[in-house]
């Protein structure tokens, strides 16, 4: 329903209107961002619907079982919180509760916390306190495996698969890439090819996308190019290792200061990040208010094309 409405809205931009398309796209972005805020405020993942087969209608039971775990998460040292993707994990627990005690979502949250903690333990220079906290967290997670089993039996493989597909939608972000011609748009849609990346870009060779149309149009305009088409993607952050340089603590840890750190230094940051397994970097847009992302690999999995919109 959400996607259909959005698609219809964006189709309207392409087909109708005495209004300039750029203006309509700006409005579409505003509507989309507002919807995202509403979902975020509600603690609910955007297109995920409650799954009847996994719902207990007793959210407090799921939350009660994971209460200790959530407390442990909250008490983690800040540097470790960043490493395990604390916000995402915490929101996953919240989402499970908000979805009527959805046990599959709770299990997804546990899995997400486990993966984050396991990755964080591999970080070099981890101090003893952080290491102990992470090990305690992992032990707690293991003791909670199958959290939903005594609330609601979920054994059917098909249902699990369906639930997994729904949970994949947990971290979708709408982003855009602008091009100067129909030929370029077609080339990008045919498949993002690293042979066309520019290793001299801000974070080195990768595919760069922006959070809103205005920003990417402004970005190309600054360089004297006219954006002719905007390609919208769903950026699927689920399962990706994202270095979020819009988070001031993470940025400081990586010695990154927006608008001050040189491109040379950004490229060095990207090299280290890639060596540590990060495949997406999120950074503040220099031309607008939103965020930009650079994706280094797994393009088919990470970037799902949705619609191409001409820009007047």
């Amino acid at each position: 329903m959400y996607d259909a409405s959005l698609q219809s809205l964006e189709s309207g931009v392409t087909q109708s209107a005495p209004q300039p398309a750029a203006e309509l796209m700006q409005q579409a972005d505003a509507v989309e961002n507002r919807l995202g805020e509403v979902y975020e405020a509600a603690g609910v993942s955007k297109p995920t619907l409650p799954d009847d087969t996994h719902t207990t209608n007793q959210p407090q039971q799921v939350m009660a079982q994971t209460e200790k775990l959530v407390t442990m998460l909250q008490e983690l040292p800040p540097s470790v919180k960043d490493s395990i993707g604390y916000d995402g994990v915490f929101n996953a627990f919240l989402s499970a509760t908000m979805n009527g005690g959805n046990t599959q979502l709770a299990q997804t949250a546990l899995d997400q916390a486990r993966a984050g903690a396991t990755d964080a333990l591999k970080e070099p220079h981890l101090d003893a306190e952080a290491k102990a906290a992470l090990q305690g967290l992992l032990a707690e997670i293991d003791s909670r495996r199958g959290v939903g089993d005594n609330v609601n039996k979920v054994t059917d493989d098909l249902n699990k698969d369906k639930a997994k597909k729904r949970s994949v939608n947990y971290s979708l972000v709408n982003v855009k890439h602008a091009v100067g011609s129909a030929k370029q748009a077609q080339s990008v849609l045919d498949g993002i090819n690293p042979k066309y990346f520019n290793s001299d870009s801000r974070f080195g060779g990768g595919f760069y996308v922006g959070g809103d149309s205005v920003t990417i149009v402004a970005e190309l305009a600054e360089h004297g190019n006219t954006a002719k088409y905007a390609i919208s993607y769903d950026l699927n952050m689920n399962g990706q290792k994202v270095l979020d340089l819009t988070n001031s603590k993470i940025a400081a840890a990586w010695d990154f200061t927006p608008r001050l750190t040189s491109t040379n230094a950004c490229q060095d940051i990207a090299e280290v990040a890639k060596a540590q397994g990060y495949n997406v970097i999120k950074f503040e847009s220099y031309r607008g208010g939103g965020a930009n992302y650079v994706v280094f690999n797994n393009f088919e999995e990470v970037l799902i094309p949705r619609i191409v919109t001409p820009i007047d």
Binding site: H177, A178, V179, K183, Q184, S187, V188, P194, K195, Y196, F197, N198, S199, D200, S201, R202, F203, F207, Y208, G210, I216, E219, L220, E222, H223, G224, N225, D255, T257, R259, L260, T261, S262, T263, N264, A265, D268, Y286, N292, V294
Partner: protein, 161 residues
Amino acid sequence: MDMISIKVRKEVVQCSKCKEPKSFLYLSDFTYGERLVFSNEGLPCAFARLSDDTTYLEYEKLVRQILWDKQLNISEEETLKLIIETFGITCDEINNCKVDFSQNQKKCSFCGSLNFDSKMIESETFITIELPLVSHNEWNKMDNMRKYNLACSMLIKNLGF
């Protein structure tokens, strides 16, 4: 020689060794298939639009063929790096200089150091520069065997054996 006028982002950073300022020029991060080519001195000397360049596709196929023929197993990432770094052999000379895609701008114009401070010393700005577009007239006159041999010797030199 066709020229193109492009607007580039300019950053100024300090050389870590001699403390002299150095300007770095960049295309938009959002460009796809476009490159600035630099001289041995680290200055921009040409512009390439690879996404519209049929010779780039031809050269990619040729390199992959040679790697296959010579049974050279290198990763996809290394292959792409090899293709772009040696692509200059297909380009016409510009002002009597060979086009070399392996060159970059990370070299101090004063002391030759490759190390620079991590922070800019002034806000980034945009400037317009005019550069020649890379062309492939000489390459296009060659027969396939000549192209193969030329590319082969270039790859062997680049791979270090």
